[in-house]
Each structure stands twice: as structure tokens, then as C-alpha cells.
């Protein structure tokens, strides 16, 4: 199957946003917007739902806290009961610092891990060179032509109306 992509390049994020919003309002399918830095408002224009990452952080942090406390209680109080200065075996106040550090560590690691997995980035992953990368100053808006209701010319006009510096048409084979 091939899909027809129309890519508009913008120098200014305002123009990118304008074009993206028009697509949203007119129901033109936006594949992606690619920017060298985070553009405020693009999430909404593209209809990206709020990230569920905070839940991962919460679960990771809770797991760290619970495991941290259990580890300390079990090792110091159950598996090898250790009398330190006559303190009780379940001396939880003394277990707070390590449990706290493990909370942060687990929350942080799970957040970063989830980010890598969900964004599909990991060391050594190549970039699909479907279109030119924009990590300098240019933004790209990638639209898909799904049916004949909207012609190539109209895509081009839409881009130019919003001040695109150029636009590119590309047929992409997807497996």
C-alpha cells in the first residue's frame, strides 16, 4: 500500500500552527508535525491526547517506596534480625531515607523507560529518512492525501497560504 504525503516546510512556528489548525478544522488528516523544539499549541492542533506518562511515574514511585520499605524491613528485621543500639527491629524512621531514594529512583527510571518505549527511541535506532530532518530551524507539517476530495494542488495552496517556504509531495510505501 502506498500513501501520498504532502509535506510543507515552515520557518516560523506560528505558520506551522496556523496550517495545522486549518487542517484540524477542515478534517484533513495530519500525519505529524516535526519541529526542532517543542511548539506550544501543536498538541492541541494535532489532537494529541494528554500523555499518560504521569501514571507510569506514580506506579514506579509507589513500587519503589513499597519495595524499599519491604527490603529494609525484611533484611534488617526478619531474615537476619539485627539489634542496632537496642532499637526495635521495625525501626521504620531509620528506613525512610533509603525508601525515599528508591521512590525517586524507581519513578525516574520508569518515566525515562516509558518515554523511550512509547516514543520508540532507543540507542542505535535509525531515523527513517522519508523526508528531510528538521532539527535546526525549520518545521515540517506532514499531511496525508487519503481520497480524491482534496487534490495535490489544494495541499500546496494550503501550505503556501500559511507561509510555507516550500512544499514537497511524496509517495510512501508502507508495508
Amino acid at each position: 500500500m502506498t500513501r501520498h504525503l504532502h509535506i510543507g516546510y515552515f520557518d516560523d512556528e506560528r505558520r506551522l500552527l496556523g496550517a495545522a489548525r486549518e487542517c484540524r478544522d477542515r478534517g484533513i488528516p495530519v500525519v505529524d508535525a516535526i519541529s526542532p523544539f517543542p511548539v506550544h499549541g501543536i498538541d492541541e492542533a494535532l489532537g494529541i491526547r494528554p500523555s499518560r506518562l504521569p501514571w507510569v511515574t506514580l506506579v514506579g514511585g509507589t513500587a519503589g517506596a513499597v519495595l524499599g520499605l519491604l527490603l529494609q524491613y525484611w533484611t534488617a528485621g526478619v531474615n537476619w534480625p539485627l539489634n542496632v543500639g537496642g532499637k526495635p527491629l521495625d525501626s521504620f524512621p531509620a528506613f525512610v531515607p533509603v525508601a525515599f531514594e528508591l521512590t525517586i529512583l524507581f519513578a525516574g527510571l520508569s518515566t525515562a523507560g516509558a518515554l523511550l518505549l512509547r516514543s520508540r527511541i532507543w540507542p542505535g535506532r535509525g531515523v527513517r529518512r522519508g523526508f528531510e530532518t528538521t532539527t535546526d530551524g525549520t518545521h515540517a507539517l506532514v499531511l496525508e492525501e487519503r481520497d480524491a476530495s482534496f487534490e495535490s494542488r489544494e495541499f500546496r495552496e494550503l501550505f503556501l497560504r500559511h507561509g510555507a517556504t516550500r512544499s514537497v509531495e511524496r509517495a510512501e510505501v508502507i508495508a
Binding site: I34, P36, F37, P38, H40, D43, V84, G85, D136, R166
Partner: protein, 482 residues
């Protein structure tokens, strides 16, 4: 197939009218950067450093010196491992000596990086974008230097894994009620989280370097390092959320780390250590010394790598103000310690403090007090805190003073045991001195490699605070509220 190709407007890199970034006029906020910057010029200026074909001669000279220092340190550590910790000056009653002083010193240095990258991010301080990458790198390298000392100080370094709760055939576990073990967890968690935060922040910039890379080696290296980052809106959306979450996690973490380091002292019964003021006092001191180190490194780096328009005098001035503020917190802690020693009525505590200021180590105490409390007062004067030479001098003295602070706390209290017959005067050996001096070699080696091959300034973040990018915020007003 290219259908339309309008020529991309090339913005000329012209010198902008001189703006007074140091203006104190509250009605107008001076720009965060000077000169005529646009997205491309930022990319060119920052990537240009890493992409330079020929490595500057000065870099080689500095690198050679640093590697020499690092080699000296590892040679000293090797000598120590073969001969035992007796090659250090540590002995009863001062069993902690320089290694612990150096550990606390280096960990403290790291704190400014996390403060700039996480806490100032939560406070939405736009100026941090020019310096956060740099300061975070400093954090990581300082923590590397810090970790070496306690690891070697345990004596049998090949048994260092005993510090972690690893199941073993003896079914023994570390003592979780000991602050020293809390420290293992605090510093390890800090090192890992800082590394993660630093690296994550660098991924978009590594992608920029990847996309510009000319040589094969560079393409592969930056390609692997940038993890296939494209900069798609979905990636950015998740990335920003993760960055915010990590900043939120790093903030309590950094405050906890030096608090836990202070527990090593405060939880003990030793006069001069057993005080409740230690956690906040240590954290303030850590930020104080860390900022001094950032400024010490930043002044030559911005001159040498041509980043004066991104890291302006204003950035340095703000950091000097933070140094002044935290320096006074430290001064306040010194004063309160003395007050409580008297007011608390504990004769041992009172003796410990009189001994600090008037005993055999008075020279160390007064060096500390002068460098940390008196010298930063120069920053009250705008003329002085905007003079690079004064800044450099003050910041170096602050770091000297902060090393002495840890020396004063660790060594003076221990040298005067409860039993006067055990009293002794601690003398470091040449191995002590060379190991510590060599740790600067390790620090600068890592730092110079960072400056040469990685993006020193967070380009993607700096671009978001450019006036051109701010324009986007105005559009929110046009957009009807949903």
C-alpha cells in the same frame, strides 16, 4: 518531487544594537541573549564547537594537563590498593580524614547543576536554558569524582559490593539503620537520576548534531547516541511531560542528597556533628560551592568557545547573586552553630566550637570563614559582580573555603576525641594531596571531552526562549478557549 521551492530567507548574522543586559530597570526585562540570534545561528554556534575540524591547540594543552592529573590520581589509588589505607594520613582518632572531606566537597559541587536544571525549570526561569546543559554535565563529573573517595576509603575496595543488598551465601545484609548506607543509596540514586536527566535533555540536540554530521564516524556515533529522535510532535509532547516529571523528581532528590550526606555526621554523637542544623546548612553550602564552580568553569568556556552572546554577563551576574545569597545562609549557619554551642549548655559541644576557632586548627577555620562569608560580600557591588576577574577570584576562593568547611567539620571534631589521651593533630600525606589534586584532573578530563564532542548549550531549549519562538504564545489568544 519538489513542487514549489521558494528561496529560504537567509537571515544575516548582523550585530544587533548594544543592549544593556545588566539593566536593573524593572519596567523592561533585558533579553536573555545578546546579538541577533535566530534558530539557525544558535544551531551553528553550538554545533560549530563540536564540529570543528581541527581541535584547538589550547584544548590539547588543557587536556594533556588534565589527563596527567587523572593519571596521577589513579596511580595513587593503585598505590593505595597495593599498600593499604595506611598510605593516607587517616589514623585514630581522625579515621575519616581527607577522603571524606573530598567526597563531601565533590558531591556538593554537583548540586548546583541539578538546582539549575530541575529547580529553576520548575520555577520557569528562562535564563537557565543557556547554562543548564553545562551545569548538569558538571554535576555528573563531580559525582564521578565524589564516588571514588568513599569507595576507596572502605579499605578493601574489591569488597565495595558489600554496600549493596546483594544476596550472598553468608545471608548477610548491609545495616539499613546506618546513615553511611543511606548515603550509598542517596548518592547512587542521585548519580543515576542526574545522568538520565542530563542525557534525556541532550537527545534532541544530539539529533541536531547527527543531522549535520559530515564524517562517517560522527554520523554513526551521533546516530547511536540520538536514539532515532525525529522531533515529531508526539515525541515532543511526551518528552516535555517526561522532562517535567524528572525535574519534579530531581528537585526533592537533590535536596535529600546533601541532607543524607549531612546525616553521616549529624546522626553520630560527636560534638560539632550532632546538630539539627546540618541538613539545610549542608544543602545551602552545596549550592553555594556548586555555583562557584559553574562560574569558575563558565567564564573561560564562554570566552574560549565563543558563547558570550548565549551566556551573557547577566547569567553570570545572576549566579553571583545566588552565590551571595547562599554564602550568607552558610554564614548564618556558622553563627547559629556557635550560638547553640553556647546556649545548649553542653560542655563538650562548647569545647568543640571554641577549639574550632581558637584551637590548633584555627587557621583552617578562619580560612573557611574568610573565603565563605567575607569574600562573597564583594558581590553586593554591581561593579564587582560584573567584573570577570573579580568573579573568577571570588569563586575560586569560595571553592577553597568550601573545601575547608568540610575539613573543619570532619577533621577538627574527630581530632579532639572524648578521651584527651587520644587527641592528635591530623597531617595529610603526599598520597592524600596527590589523590585530591588528581581528582581535578579526572573532572577536567571529562569536562573537556564534553566541551569538545557534545552540545554544550541546550539548543532546543534556548530556541524556545528566543523572541521568535515566543511569538507562538501570542497565538493562544486568537484561539478560542475550549
Amino acid at each position: 518531487m519538489v513542487i514549489t521551492a521558494a528561496t529560504e530567507p537567509k537571515r544575516a548574522h548582523v550585530a544587533a544594537p548594544v543592549v544593556d543586559v545588566l539593566s536593573d530597570d524593572p519596567t523592561q526585562r533585558p533579553p536573555l541573549m545578546t546579538g541577533e540570534n535566530d534558530f539557525t545561528s544558535i544551531t551553528d554556534d553550538v554545533c560549530g564547537i563540536a564540529e570543528r575540524e581541527a581541535t584547538p591547540r589550547a584544548w590539547y594543552i588543557a587536556f594533556a594537563a588534565s589527563v596527567t592529573g587523572m593519571t596521577v590520581m589513579f596511580a595513587m589509588l593503585g598505590y593505595l590498593i597495593f599498600n593499604g589505607v595506611g598510605v593516607w594520613g587517616n589514623n585514630q582518632p581522625v579515621a575519616w580524614g581527607w577522603p571524606i572531606v573530598n567526597f563531601v566537597f565533590w558531591v556538593g559541587i554537583g548540586h548546583a547543576g541539578t538546582l539549575i536544571s530541575a529547580i529553576l525549570f520548575l520555577f520557569r526561569q528562562g535564563w537557565r536554558t543557556s547554562i543548564n546543559r553545562f551545569a548538569e554535565a558538571m554535576t555528573i563529573f563531580a559525582v564521578c569524582c565524589a564516588g571514588i573517595f568513599p569507595a576507596v576509603h572502605i579499605g578493601r575496595v574489591w569488597m565495595a559490593y558489600y554496600l549493596f543488598p546483594i544476596p550472598n551465601q553468608m545471608e548477610m545484609w548491609p545495616n539499613f539503620r546506618s546513615p553511611l548506607l543511606w548515603d550509598v543509596f542517596a548518592v547512587s540514586a542521585y548519580a543515576l537520576t542526574s545522568l538520565m536527566f542530563w542525557y534525556m535533555g541532550m537527545i534532541p540536540d544530539l539529533a541536531t548534531l547527527r543531522d549535520r554530521a559530515k564524517g562517517k564516524v560522527r554520523q554513526i556515533a551521533y546516530g547511536i547516541a540520538s536514539m532515532g529522535w525525529t522531533g515529531s510532535a508526539r515525541q515532543w509532547h511526551r518528552y516535555e511531560k517526561a522532562y517535567l516529571l524528572l525535574a519534579g523528581l530531581a528537585t526533592p532528590l537533590v535536596l535529600s542528597v546533601h541532607s543524607v550526606v549531612s546525616f553521616d555526621f549529624a546522626v553520630s554523637q560527636v560534638p560539632g556533628w550532632h546538630t539539627t542544623i546540618f541538613p539545610p546548612y549542608f544543602v545551602a553550602g552545596a549550592i553555594f560551592s556548586g555555583f562557584a564552580m559553574v562560574v569558575t568553569l563558565m567564564i573561560p568556556a564562554r570566552q574560549f568557545f565563543g558563547l558570550k552572546h548565549l551566556v551573557t554577563m547577566k547569567h553570570l551576574e545572576i549566579m553571583c547573586k545566588i552565590i551571595l545569597a547562599t554564602g550568607m545562609m552558610v554564614g548564618y549557619a556558622y553563627a547559629i552553630e556557635f550560638f547553640i554551642a553556647w546556649y545548649g549548655g553542653n560542655p563538650y559541644e562548647r569545647f568543640a566550637f571554641i577549639n574550632r576557632a581558637m584551637g590548633p586548627y584555627a587557621w583552617a577555620y578562619w580560612t573557611m570563614a574568610t573565603c565563605n562569608v567575607l569574600v562573597p560580600q564583594l558581590f553586593w557591588f554591581k561593579k564587582l559582580r560584573t567584573n570577570l576577574w573579580v568573579m573568577m577570584g571570588v569563586c575560586i576562593l569560595v571553592n577553597v573555603g568550601m573545601w575547608f568547611e568540610r575539613f573543619v567539620i570532619t577533621v577538627i571534631s574527630l581530632s579532639r576525641d572524648f578521651l584527651p589521651s587520644s587527641w592528635d593533630y591530623f597531617k595529610p600525606t603526599a598520597v592524600d594531596v596527590l589523590t585530591f589534586a588528581g581528582s581535578f584532573g579526572l573532572f577536567f578530563t571529562l569536562f573537556l571531552l564534553f566541551c569538545r564532542y557534545l552540545p554544550m548549550v541546550a539548543m532546543a531549549e534556548v530556541k524556545t526562549v528566543l523572541p521568535q519562538a515566543h511569538a507562538g504564545h501570542g497565538l493562544h489568544a486568537e484561539e478560542p478557549a475550549r
